[in-house]
């Protein structure tokens, strides 16, 4: 093989010595500096192995003298971000929630903070778009069980709904009219007919008229004489097209028979007050938020 090596006349370069059907290959040497760059990368690798995590061991890798970890880097970044946010969080903590709208800067910061906290704590029940599902209220609409101004929302989030261990919680209990024998099945059918009539889903017939009397005797105390509901008891408005569990005959019959009592955790003992304030601002911003009631008017939060 080596004996076939020769100098190629046109280029002045020697050949590698292989020859295939008259085709030869030039043995052009690489430039020397190219070799130096290879040595430089090897030196770089050696330095890297010393400074950074590199060799895999049995249960972890060698740590490197800089003690760098991606988890540590994340913690640093989180700490830096929290330090950045600390001043505005302190300002939000000092500002009563009904004064937030007066400061667009604080309000916007609260909404954005709430958006992040909502994804963490609330989407499990209320859904990622806050649109809820049967039994879990849609927070986008303008129908509120316990009040839709900033203060009422903050109060609801802080104290939750139907927490038996907590006396501030939003509390009400609907009787199980059927299960407990308060009403007979036929009476429940009449009530269903009445509720479907006042919500405009079917014309009022004889059954509905019988149901109206039953409604006045059994339901009006909480839902109001005309069925518009009462936020003091979290009693839903039965005349609008929004239903928490469903407005069809089947569901209404089940609701009246067995009653409903949805619960929400009280977040006051899980989240800090600023995060709750931000959550309230975010929920209020979803499109159905109500203006704060005029001064002197009774608020849901006050009860």
């Amino acid at each position: 093989m080596g004996d076939k090596r020769r100098i190629d006349a046109p280029t002045g370069t020697q050949t590698v010595g292989h020859e295939w059907d008259g085709i030869e290959e030039l043995d052009t040497p690489m430039p020397r500096w190219w070799l130096w760059t290879l040595y430089a990368t090897i030196a770089w690798a050696a330095v890297y192995v010393i400074l950074y995590p590199a060799w895999p061991m049995i249960d972890s890798a060698t740590g490197g003298t800089l003690a760098w970890t991606s988890r540590g880097q994340l913690e640093e970044q989180l700490a830096a971000r929290n330090a950045e946010l600390a001043p505005i969080r302190a300002e939000i903590a000092r500002t009563p929630i009904d004064r937030l709208p007066a400061s667009p800067r604080l309000q916007q910061a609260s909404i954005e903070g709430g958006r992040a906290a909502f994804r963490m704590h609330c989407v499990q029940c209320h859904g990622s778009g806050a649109a809820g599902s049967p039994g879990y209220p849609n927070l986008n609409d303008d129908d509120w069980l316990w009040g839709g101004d900033l203060g009422a929302i903050e109060f609801t989030i802080t104290n939750g709904a139907r927490n038996p261990d907590h006396d501030q919680t939003r509390m009400s209990l609907m009787p199980a009219f059927g299960r407990d024998g308060i009403l007979q099945p036929a009476q429940i059918e009449d009530l269903v007919a009445h509720v479907r009539a006042i919500s405009g889903q079917q014309p009022a017939g004889a059954a509905a008229r019988r149901g109206a009397a039953l409604f006045a005797a059994n339901c009006a105390a909480c839902h109001g004489a005309d069925g518009h509901g009462d936020r003091s008891f979290g009693a839903p408005n039965l005349t609008d097209p929004i239903w928490l569990y469903g407005g069809d005959t089947e569901t209404l019959r089940a609701t009246i028979t067995n009653a409903r009592a949805g619960v929400m955790p009280r977040w006051g003992n899980r989240l800090d007050p600023v995060t709750i304030r931000m959550l309230a601002a975010y929920v209020h911003s979803l499109g159905g938020g109500e203006a704060a009631p005029a001064a002197g008017a009774p608020t849901a939060a006050g009860r």
Binding site: R5, R6, I7, D8, A9, G12, T13, Q14, V16, D27, P29, M30, P31, R32, W33, W34, L35, P101, P104, Q107, Q108, I111, G127, S128, G129, A131, N138, N140, D141, D142, D143, N237, D240, P241, I242, S285, G287, G288, G289, E290, A291
Partner: protein, 481 residues
């Protein structure tokens, strides 16, 4: 010429052969000086030019503001979404390079390429300190002495100075030049400025001082692409072998001895001046950047021995063939203006015209809307239907503008924002968009009854004297009946 005796064992790596180009004077050398002066002046001076854009925008004529994602070039301001203008410029530069190459060969490589310009500058410094070619060769072979160390230190010092100012000038394109210069000297500039200057100083120093022609031969893809770009009508530096061969060392002697002798006296002047260390008499080759310095050198020798100039000259392959056969070459202009170059020029001009038209008619107030997908619509307690949109209004003027946003195409629709509520809703939302910025609004739209996928539009109108408006089509979703 190689001999079998040159055979060495397998050599994987070869040391660079030193290139010590000799100083030369002539029309092409003077052209290179002029182009070097112009290109260096453009590079160093451009960031310091000022251009008044009012109180809300920087006054630097050419500024790539990466932090704020804006590109300023005199009267033109490019936003990131208009980056296709920059792409268009790059395409024009590409086609321009094709045009130049197909017409006059590697003129870019020989005259205007930064690698050529800076190497030329570095070699001039080298000649100034070490002396011309012969002195440089002597010095390279000389043992280390106080004098050699002093000369090397002086040379590297001047190179380093050039390299630092080269790297230093680059960063001024990316920030306000006077401010950055002050901060840089005072040690208050961001670390990225120092590291950029450091890296570019290193590359300038190494590429201009040491790698030189190796960048062209080993690293740069352009010489390889030349093969496809050049054709038989492209001007390249040509040694007219039919005139020069056979070479003789004394024309008079050869004539007396009645030996056939060409014009080439084998004086090696063309090799001595070549900045890439090649012998042009071996023909067109990858190492030739067509800087034409060998033409200057050869013309001078031809004048001294009383022969016509142009033994080495710009010529096309076609004309070289004609001349070799003893026929008259075609005029250069007829070679240059041919369908290929005309087509390149037309494409180049067409892209330029389209871009100018686009720049002249582009809108400076823009609106876009993204509909909420989760939930798609919300049923309200009075039976109305609500949709939510994220609306972005782009004010591309360098001044704040008051604008009004309306929702059109849906009778009875009212709109409000995230911080408002339905009680305060109306037909129009007014807001002030900051100068040269994007305003983001969450807008809720409620309409008495929603039709599934009803067509509608957001319209933004500027309320200032200049006016102007823009619209974006959206749909309004509702329950399927």
């Amino acid at each position: 010429m190689a001999h079998p005796g040159d055979l060495v064992g397998t050599r994987f790596f070869a040391k660079r052969k030193g290139v010590y180009p000799k100083a030369v004077d002539g029309p092409f050398r003077r052209l290179k000086w002029a182009i070097m002066a112009v290109t260096l002046a453009i590079y160093y001076v451009t960031p310091w030019l000022r251009w008044d854009r009012g109180p809300y925008a920087p006054d630097q004529a050419v500024l790539v503001d990466l932090a704020n994602r804006r590109f300023y070039m005199f009267g033109i301001e490019i936003w990131p979404h208009e980056f296709y203008y920059v792409a268009g410029l790059l395409i024009m530069a590409g086609i321009g390079l094709f045009l130049v190459t197909s017409a006059v060969g590697r003129a870019w490589c020989g005259y205007a390429c930064p690698q050529t310009v800076w190497t030329d500058l570095f070699q001039h410094v080298e000649r100034f300190i070490d002396g011309d070619r012969n002195a440089q060769i002597r010095l390279a072979g000389a043992p280390w002495s106080v004098g050699k160390v002093a000369r090397r230190a002086a040379k590297y010092g001047v190179w380093l100075l050039i390299a630092v100012s080269t790297g230093g000038a680059w960063i001024f394109y990316f920030a306000d030049a006077p401010t950055l210069a002050r901060d840089f000297v005072g040690g208050d500039a961001p670390w990225v400025a120092y590291s950029t200057v450091g890296i570019l100083t290193a590359t300038t120093f190494v590429f201009g001082g040491f790698l030189r022609e190796q960048v062209c031969i080993y690293m740069c893809p352009w010489p390889r692409i030349q093969g496809a770009m050049l054709d038989e009508k492209s001007l390249i530096v040509t040694y007219k072998d039919w005139r020069g061969e056979p070479r003789s060392h004394g024309v008079k002697k050869a004539t007396l001895a009645d030996i056939a002798a060409g014009d080439c006296i084998d004086c090696n002047a063309c090799v001595a001046v070549c900045p890439t260390g090649i012998d042009i008499r071996e023909g067109s080759q990858i190492g030739c950047i067509t800087c034409a310095l060998c033409i200057d050198a050869c013309d001078k020798v031809m004048a001294q021995v009383g022969r016509p100039r142009g033994l080495i000259d710009y010529a096309t392959f076609e004309n070289a063939d004609l001349e070799r056969r003893g026929e008259a070459p075609k005029p250069i202009l007829r070679e240059v203006f041919r369908p290929r170059t005309i087509l390149y020029s037309a494409a180049w001009a067409a892209i330029g015209c389209v871009m100018l038209f686009g720049l002249g008619t582009r809108t400076r107030l823009d609106i876009s809307a993204q509909q909420d997908r989760n939930p798609l619509f919300v049923r309200l307690s009075d039976g109305a239907v609500r949709n939510g949109y994220t609306v972005k209004i782009r004010n591309m003027e360098a001044r704040p503008r008051q604008v009004a946003v309306t929702f059109e195409g849906l009778p009875g629709a009212v709109i409000w924002t995230e911080t408002g509520n339905r009680e305060g809703a109306g037909r129009e939302i007014r807001t002030i968009v900051p100068p040269d910025a994007l305003a983001k609004l969450r807008i809720f739209v409620a309409a008495p009854s929603g039709r599934d996928g009803a067509p509608a539009a957001f319209v933004v109108r500027a309320l200032d004297a200049e006016g102007g408006s823009n619209r974006v089509d959206v749909t309004f979703e509702g329950p399927t009946p």
